[in-house]
């Protein structure tokens, strides 16, 4: 008789969740990872957490008021993003999805820049090289390959395993649980493994891909897949900023040292809708949400700081006030973001604009001018010279 049961027995799903602070704000020890942060640094992280949540809330409000077309909230995922983002060094590089507002914050990206895509005035528009933060990527999983290729470039540039803390660098690729099903992501794992690329695959398992629960993407804990690709995987409490920081620090250092990729699964929960266009009441139970509310990533840090004297009410109030200030300024600047000029898009497609595109730009400018003539009688603007360069347009 063929014993198929023997195979099932080999299917080991035992796993361990790295946690360094409980939802109640108690510090706990872990045999492999420890928190290297002092209270002042933890206070700074608390500030990060509060600020990015506040920015996120403001963006959601801006969407509701029609100022953004859509917004993808990070609510509930602040610790995963701040913990991992703060583990990066200046020379490291992050490849985000569309939800990594907290990581952007850690990289020093002005939050206003993030709003452009969602407001519909640009498609990111920043230079990823400025802050080591790639453009937001909406096509699920594509950025994991870019991250791997970038890491291979660092390797070739001699920025890995030199022992120089200022020089050794690594890449971190962000993606969701749903993304792990994409071919691109699996190919990234293979490339990274085969070439021992200095890249950390940071998966925020928020349990949902729009309406599809994690069971629709995997039958084993995601971090266990890493082994099959040939590198370590670890699951961390994604709502524990200390654990996320410790594990990501270790994974990034491993990459910088030249020991290759690591898969980090930050186990968390999408507390809000997928985006402001989504209605989660159609597919998920309220109970789950209540359960995860008890694991809030910010409340536990606050409880810890308050209990241990690391921060007092004055500090919390200051952070609160600062966050309102940041939100207010963000709102003001969002409202005054100019719409792009349609004639500029012709200049942004190629290094060497094609003759055809030059012609299209000139014809369209002339076409638009016919309206200005009839509406205002002025006929100004929309001038495109013979080379197709717009007057006054940035080079």
């Amino acid at each position: 008789m063929i014993d198929a049961g023997a195979l099932s027995a080999r299917f080991d799903t035992a796993h361990d969740l790295v946690q360094l602070m409980t939802p109640e704000g108690e510090r706990v020890e872990h045999p492999d990872f420890s928190c290297e942060l002092d209270d002042e640094q933890i206070r700074a992280m608390y500030r990060d957490l509060v600020l990015v949540r506040r920015i996120d809330t403001e963006a959601t409000a801006l969407q509701r008021q029609g100022e953004l077309g859509i917004w993808a909230s990070l609510l509930g995922q602040e610790a995963a993003q701040i913990g991992s983002g703060r583990a990066m060094r200046r020379q490291d590089f992050a490849f985000p999805t569309y939800r990594e507002h907290g990581v952007a914050w850690c990289r020093g990206v002005d939050p206003l820049r993030l709003l452009g895509l969602f407001r519909g005035v640009d498609q990111g528009g920043w230079d990823p090289r400025d802050d080591g933060f790639a453009l937001y990527t909406i096509v699920i999983g594509a950025q994991t390959l870019h991250a791997t290729g970038y890491a291979m470039g660092m390797q070739r540039d001699g920025c890995v395993g030199t022992g120089d803390a200022e020089r050794d660098a690594a890449v971190i690729a962000y993606f969701g649980d749903g993304a792990t099903s994409q071919g691109d992501v699996n190919e990234a794992f293979i490339w990274a493994s085969v070439f021992n690329a200095p890249v950390v695959f940071f998966c925020q398992n928020n349990q949902w891909a729009i309406s599809e629960p994690i069971e629709r993407q995997t039958r084993i804990p995601l971090f266990q897949r890493a082994l099959g690709f040939g590198f370590p995987g670890v699951r961390v409490d994604g709502n524990d900023v200390l654990a996320c920081h410790a594990v990501t620090s270790a994974a990034l250092q491993r990459a910088r040292d030249g020991s290759g990729p690591t898969f980090v699964e930050a186990y968390t929960y999408r507390m809000g809708a997928h985006t402001t266009s989504d209605d989660p009441t159609r597919y998920r139970l309220h109970d789950d949400l209540e359960h995860w509310k008890l694991k809030d990533p910010i409340a536990r840090v606050k409880a810890y700081l308050a209990r241990g004297g690391g921060a007092d009410e004055t500090y919390f109030a200051e952070v609160e006030a600062e966050s309102d200030d940041v939100a207010r300024r963000l709102r003001e600047r969002c409202l005054s973001m100019p719409d792009p000029d349609v004639l500029d898009i012709f200049d942004q497609v190629y290094a060497d604009k094609t003759p055809e595109l030059v012609r299209q730009q000139q014809e369209y400018a002339a076409y638009l001018a016919t309206f200005e003539d009839s509406e205002t009688g002025s006929g100004t603007g929309s001038a495109v010279d013979a080379d197709g360069d717009r007057e006054g347009a940035p080079a």
Partner: protein, 324 residues
């Protein structure tokens, strides 16, 4: 007769197709409980079960590739691609596998797969959610490509596509999903691969499909007020093209304007223009003019209204055609 939105008409059409043939499956991302992000598959999983309405893992190549296997097994998968810009991970499966299976088996294997793609812009979405990739599929031998423009056609065309033994890439004009019209569920539809005159006229023939049909019709109304009579044809099928109604019209009007949201360069309009000039060159009073997108990626949504062909740009082309 029922008043239905275009999205609901598709739901009704799919429901009827599933009722008629137990081999019809619906599969894609979020098509089950959520009913799809545009609710086109709303309620189908509840009524037909999870075996027939399948929420797939998040991988487009997987959706189409497994549909090929299911089709080999006798099923008729209707695959939803969530947005136009997300079809590309499945491009290999569509172009190299779906399109060629019959040919490679020397005509033996049917590939009754429908690939539904909400397409086009005008809904204020972020990048990759407003594209018009139809020409890329129409250019591929082995695929048939259609686009519906109104609820009545949506209801019937989706059923005809499901019944087709050839693979059909089915484009749905997403910005028209919420527009309502009477749908006669006992009516008799035109054949799937046929175009249709939707407004008779005498001066210029305007060809459109999908979301631009309404724009063309509005242009015709505006032109009428200025004493110009436009004949509007809804192409409906992009591959194969149904040129007979077009040629018949052009022989009367002598002038043609083709409108689509997709880039003009190597678009459907280019093929139509070539066919018209080949078939009725002597009837032409003006070159075939095209209205469509520039050779740039789709722009940020705040300027999409300037980017998309609209009534004014159609009328501008009509003026130019008449000026010859």
């Amino acid at each position: 007769m029922t008043q239905l939105t275009l999205a609901k008409a598709l739901t009704h059409g799919l429901r009827r197709a599933m009722d008629l043939d137990v081999k019809v499956l619906v599969m894609g991302e979020d098509v089950g409980k959520l009913g799809g992000v545009f609710r086109v598959t709303d309620g189908l999983q509840k009524d037909f079960g999870e075996d027939r309405v399948i929420d797939t893992p998040l991988a487009e190549s997987g959706i189409i590739g497994t549909a090929v296997g299911l089709a080999l097994r006798g099923y008729r998968p209707v695959c939803e691609i969530q947005f136009d810009g997300f079809v590309y991970p499945a491009y290999d499966q569509i172009v190299s596998q779906v399109a060629k299976m019959r040919f490679r088996s020397q005509g033996r294997l049917p590939m009754p797969i429908v690939i539904r793609i909400p397409f086009g812009g005008g809904i204020g979405a972020v990048e990759h959610h407003s594209e018009s990739p139809e020409a890329q599929f129409a250019h591929t031998a082995g695929l048939k490509v259609v686009a519906c423009s109104n609820p009545f056609d949506a209801y019937w065309m989706i059923q005809q596509a499901v019944a087709s033994d050839d693979p059909v890439v089915f484009f749905e004009p997403k910005r028209r999903y919420w527009e309502k019209a009477e749908v006669d569920e006992d009516g008799s539809p035109d054949p799937l691969f046929s175009s249709r005159v939707v407004r008779a006229g005498t001066d210029v023939t305007v060809l459109a499909y999908g979301p631009m049909v309404k724009t063309a019709q509005e242009a015709a109304v505006a032109a009428d007020a200025e004493g110009r009579s436009l004949e509007v044809i809804d192409l409906r099928t992009l591959s194969p093209l149904d040129m007979d109604p077009v040629l018949e019209s052009v022989r009367r009007t002598g002038r043609v304007v083709v409108v689509h949201e997709a880039t003009v360069n190597l678009g459907i309009g280019a093929e139509v223009a070539a066919r018209v000039s080949e078939e009725c060159f002597y009837a032409l009073e003006a070159p075939v003019l095209r209205v469509g997108a520039f050779d740039t990626p789709y722009p940020p949504s705040r300027i999409e209204e300037e980017y998309l062909p609209d009534l004014d740009r159609v009328l501008d082309a009509v003026d130019r055609a008449l000026a010859y």
